[in-house]
Amino acid sequence: MNPEPFLQLDRVIHEKGRLPIVSLLAANAELSFTEIRDLLQMTDGNLSVHLRTLQEAGYIAITKTYRQRRPLTTCALTPAGREAFTRYVGLLEEIVRQTRGV
């Protein structure tokens, strides 16, 4: 098996806690902090750490606003994040093809 695709996998996305977050954001234009937390059943602290890592990598944009005087944090993939995710999925598919000998 050629190890090259595996070595090319984006380490920021290829992490147990961050891959689900990026997957959710790839399927939705934006999601609130609470939606992501409830869907993934993560703690506030854990989710905050992963979101900060993704933001620092330039993969997500975090917007803080107020709705009915309550803070609302929403997250969305940036173009760079979407491109990185597409590339990541492409590499996974390539690995699967190699594994199956297609």
């Binding site: 399927a27 609470t34 939606e35 690995i95």
Partner: protein, 219 residues
Amino acid sequence: MQSESMEPNWAADHLQVIRTLMERSAVYRRALAPMMLWAGALGTAAGAAGLLWPVDHPVRFILFWLAIALVTMTGSFLMVRRQALREAEPFWSPPARRVVRAAAPAAACGLGLALVIGAHLLGEAGDSSLWRLMTFQMLPVIWAGLYGCGMHAAGFFMPRGMRWFGTGMVAVALVLLAAGNPGLEPFQWGHGVMAICFGLLHLGYGAYLVSTERPHAAL
């Protein structure tokens, strides 16, 4: 991580996780039980009111039930909005848009059919017994069938049995269509069908949801 590369199925497993998460995130998650109970209570009460009042003119029958539908949708809208505000989430979310888009064609057909029949009743054909029969005998069953189709389509973006509810609504509508009026006055049959389909079925599904919905998801 390196050992992961030696595991033959990990990449396929990752892809499956991604697919599942993307699908799950597209599901509409507002608590449905209060809306179903509201719609069911209103549908049942409206059916009884239509029988006792009585609403026995075909045009009034159509207007009466369109008004009930409007009140039901307004109440449901306010419940959804209240849930969204309480959870500090957007009301018009991507899943909400998908649900509305899925149900819209069937709703438009039902409304269009009512308007066409109403126009005929008000026009030259107003005295035709055919159109009166169409209003009381057929329209409620067609409305129920279309509503079932709409709920079934929306159910692809909603959790917990909505597709089954839609299927059940279509099945009940077809059974009532096949059974036909057992000899009641046409307006009684019409209100009865509406009360069964839009009242009792909603109440039944709402009761099921109340008994199974997670506590924090309730209104």
